[in-house]
Symmetry: C2
Subunit: 207 residues, 2 copies
Amino acid sequence: MYTKKDIEQLDRISRLKIINAVTGIKPANLIGSINSDGLSNLAIFSSVVHLGSNPALLGFISRPQTPEVGHTLRNIKENGSYTINHIHPNFVKNAHYTSAKFSAEESEFELCGLTQEYQKDILAPFVKQSTFKMGMQFVETLDIKHNGTVMVIGEIQKLIIDNSAMVDDDIDLQASNSVGISGLNSYYELKKIAQFPYARIEELPEF
Amino acid sequence: MYTKKDIEQLDRISRLKIINAVTGIKPANLIGSINSDGLSNLAIFSSVVHLGSNPALLGFISRPQTPEVGHTLRNIKENGSYTINHIHPNFVKNAHYTSAKFSAEESEFELCGLTQEYQKDILAPFVKQSTFKMGMQFVETLDIKHNGTVMVIGEIQKLIIDNSAMVDDDIDLQASNSVGISGLNSYYELKKIAQFPYARIEELPEF
């Protein structure tokens, strides 16, 4: 057991490792973007979250920007376009190393061995190796004043999924071979264990 | 492939099922709360997200409130206390059925076969069956104007984890037997496949 005080007194690295893992499994996505000079950027994010289905809105958390980090949000603000690409087991290592602090002039695509792919009507680059990806249009940012982070909100413009990801008319994340992240650097495969109907009071099982 | 227009033209249920699954795997948590009359509430959430480690802040998304739904946020606003409890395979079915529309007078703990547990200094009830849980203090809400949802932000007051969840000084979500959710009703077990060091440019592997 850790109290608030115990957490505050942990050394920085231990605290980062623990607190980044407490929410449970996180989705593993690469976000692609491009600046006005045509320089592409690719960064791993574990904070993509569903906000609504109509309109189809997703959010992600961007940390406080400095000259060295935050190229993704800077690019998104320049032209409104970005892509969200699921990570699969065969390129988790490539994806992980996009988190190194490359300069704005360096493209993580090239340095991490991933391939840019462009799609009609979407300015930002997709990850060719991903079989589950979305073209996004920026909507707004929300400031989280307590720690300077920002929630970036966007709407899905294009959803590209392999037919094999659909099982019985439902997206199956084991079939799509999508991975999860824990903490800052651990990657997990998914194994489907249960599916239940929409929960109605009149159909409540005996517990 | 689905364009924005294709997504808009899907029937409501198909759209909910698909768009709730596109972010990838989501953490499976039960949020416990209690109102000023001492009536407890328990609800499943797949939107818990890490916002920062110092202070240790977590967020989750609450849908627009109506008299029938939103008891969790109402309770949190009354007294500032809530708990976040990981879901394990042996009670995924119980956890799923907390999403049925019970009235404010009914406690999901009792009706879904889960046990309340109280801890010193935390007003809201924990889930006894969970071996990975947190007592939270409400900080603020952020309105997402585009669809009326709200991000609820809180700080960790107490983190209770089983020793078996710690492997080599790191939280291991396979060892803690934490599960993930896809869409509205599919549950996944986790299998750790890789762990990499903090990514430094000077230690970039050959890709």
